[in-house]
C-alpha cells in the first residue's frame, strides 16, 4: 500500500514498466510479422526479431503483382460493401418505423427483431447452409451477403433507432404541419441528419464482414469467390513452411484493416464500444 500510494516516483516507474511490458506484448508479434515478410527464409530463422540485413522486397512485390492477392481482396471488398449497403438500407428503414411510428404490435415486432442479438450464426449454421443451398445461392456473393445482413440487423436497428429517437421531435412536428409524408421526412430529414450514425454502423458492419470466416467457409466451394480469410488459409496450406512469404501475405491482407482503422478510428471505436454499451 505505502509503496504504491506514497512515493509518486515509485508509482510512475511502475506504470511506465507496466505500459512498456504490454506495449512489447502487443507490438512485437505485429512488427515481427511486418519485418518477417522482408526477410529470406534463412534470415528469418536466425534473426526473427531484428531489422532485415538484406531487404527482400520481392516477397511483397510478388504478392502485390499476383492476381491471386487482388482477387481475394476484390471478393472481400465486394462482399463487405454489398453487406454494408444492404444493411444500412434495410435497417435504417426498420429503425425509422420503430423510432417514430406508433401502431399496435410495434413493441412486439421490435422485441422479435432484437432477439437476433441472442443468435450467434454458428448455432444454426447447418440449417442456414441448407436454406442457402435450397435457394440456389451457394457459391454466390448473395449466399454470404444475405445471411450476414440478417445476422447484423438486430444490432444495426438498435443503434439507428436510438439515434433517430434522439433527433429533435420539433422537426417531425414541423414537417407534419408542412404536409410532409413520413417517407418524405425519412428521406429528406432523417437520413441527412443521421450521417454520423450511418457511418458508424456502416464501419462496424464492414469490419465484421471483412473479417468473417465461418459463413463464407460454409457457403463457398468455388475458390474464385473466396474472400481473403479463406484465401490466406489456402495460401498457408500451399507454402506451409515458407514463413517469410506467409508473413508478407498476412501483412498485405491486414493492411487494409489497419488503414481503415487509422482513417476511421473514431467511428470504429465509437461503434464497437458504444454498440456494446446499453441496448
Amino acid at each position: 500500500m505505502s509503496r504504491l500510494g506514497c512515493k509518486v516516483d515509485g508509482t510512475a516507474a511502475f506504470k511506465t514498466l507496466f505500459l512498456g511490458a504490454v506495449f512489447l506484448f502487443v507490438a512485437t508479434p505485429l512488427l515481427a510479422t511486418l519485418l518477417g515478410g522482408f526477410k529470406s527464409l534463412g534470415e528469418l530463422r536466425t534473426n526473427p526479431f531484428g531489422l532485415p540485413q538484406i531487404w527482400e522486397w520481392r516477397n511483397y512485390a510478388d504478392i502485390l503483382l499476383s492476381d491471386r492477392y487482388w482477387k481475394l481482396l476484390g471478393n472481400s471488398l465486394a462482399i463487405a460493401l454489398l453487406t454494408v449497403v444492404l444493411t444500412l438500407i434495410v435497417s435504417s428503414m426498420a429503425a425509422f418505423v420503430f423510432a417514430h411510428l406508433r401502431f399496435f404490435g410495434r413493441e412486439m415486432l421490435f422485441g422479435y427483431v432484437t432477439t437476433g442479438l441472442l443468435f450467434p450464426a454458428a448455432t444454426a449454421i447447418l440449417p442456414l447452409f441448407i436454406k442457402v443451398r435450397d435457394l440456389g445461392l451457394l457459391d454466390s456473393y448473395s449466399g454470404i451477403v444475405l445471411p450476414q445482413v440478417a445476422f447484423g440487423l438486430a444490432m444495426s436497428i438498435l443503434l439507428l433507432r436510438r439515434f433517430f429517437r434522439d433527433l429533435p421531435p420539433e422537426l417531425l412536428e414541423a414537417a407534419v404541419v408542412d404536409g410532409c409524408s413520413y417517407i418524405g421526412f425519412f428521406w429528406h430529414i432523417t437520413l441527412p441528419l443521421s450521417r454520423p450514425i450511418l457511418a458508424t454502423v456502416g464501419t462496424i458492419v464492414f469490419v465484421h464482414s471483412w473479417n468473417a470466416y465461418l459463413v463464407p467457409l460454409v457457403m463457398l466451394n468455388n475458390d474464385r469467390l473466396y474472400p481473403w480469410p479463406l484465401g490466406i488459409m489456402v495460401y498457408q496450406g500451399e507454402y506451409s513452411s515458407e514463413w517469410n512469404l506467409i508473413l508478407a501475405f498476412i501483412t498485405l491482407t491486414i493492411l487494409p484493416t489497419v488503414l481503415l482503422f487509422l482513417f476511421a478510428q473514431k467511428h470504429i471505436v465509437a461503434g464497437l464500444t458504444a454498440g456494446a454499451v446499453k441496448g
Binding site: 415486432l109 450467434p120 447447418l126 473479417n211 506467409i246 456494446a276
Partner: protein, 295 residues
Amino acid sequence: MRIATARRFDTSKWAAVLLFLPPALLLFTLFVVLPAGEAAWYSGFNWNGFGSPTRWVGLDNYRFVLENRAFGNAIANNLLVIASSLLVQIPLALALAVILAERFRGALALRMLFFLPYILAEIATGMIFSFVYDGNYGLLAAIYGWFGAEAPHLLASSSTAMPAILVVIVWKYFGFHMMLFIAALQGLDRGVIEAAKIDGATGWQLQRHIVIPLLYPTIRLSIFFAVVGSLQLFDLIMPLTRGGPADSSHTIVSFLYTFGVMRMRVGFGSAVGVILFVLCATFAFTYKRWFMRNE
C-alpha cells in the same frame, strides 16, 4: 380540414410501415429465426442433408453429443476461455484503462495500439501466432535459442495447445474491454473524484474505493460480452490448431464445424447448435436478470 389532414397522414404512416418494415422482417425471419427453429427440428433426425429428413432418431443425437469425449473437452475449453477472460483479460484491461484514461504524451497512441488487435481478423491473428509459436522459425523458438534450449512445439502438444491459445485470446481481446472502460471513465462525474481527492484519497485508495465501484455497471457489461464472445469462439482456433492435437483444443463451435459441418451430419451438428443456443440464451437471461437489472 382537420379530419382530412389526419386521414392523409394516417395513410402516410401506414405506407411507411408497410414499405419499411417487411424487408427487415423477411430477411431476419428467413435467415435467422427459421434456421434456428429448423436446427431444433433437424436435431431429431439422422440426416446427411440430401433429400428430406426421414430417419427420426428422437433425442439420440443429443446423447451422442453429450457422450462424445471431444465435446466434453470443448465445453471444458470454453469454460477455460471464460475463466481466463474474467481473471486475466478484464483485470488487465481495467488497470490499463485507469492509466490510459489520463492525459499524457503517448496515451492516445497506446490506446489505439492496444485496441488494434481487436479489429484484426481472427484468422490473421491466429496465423500470426502460429508463426510466433512455430518451433523452427517462431519468435518463441528464437527466445529459447538465446538460452541454448530446444524450442517446444506448443501447438503440437495436447497439454500446451490450449494455454497457448488462451494467450492469443488475451492479446486479441483485452483492448476491447480497455476501450469500454476508458469510455466509461471519461463519462464519470469528475466532481465525485475531485471531492474524494480533497478528502485525502490518493492513488490506489482512490481507484479501489471510488473509481472502480463507479465502473461496476461497465464491468458487468464487459463480463457479459466476454462470456458470450467466449462461447462463440471459432475462427481463432482454425489457423492455430483446428481443434487438435487429438481434439484437445476444440471449442463448442469448432467441434460443431469439425464433426457436424465437415461430415454433413446435419442432425448431430444441429444438436450441437441447439445446445450452444440454449447455453447462450440461458446465460443471457439469467445474467441480465441477476446482474443487470437496472440497465
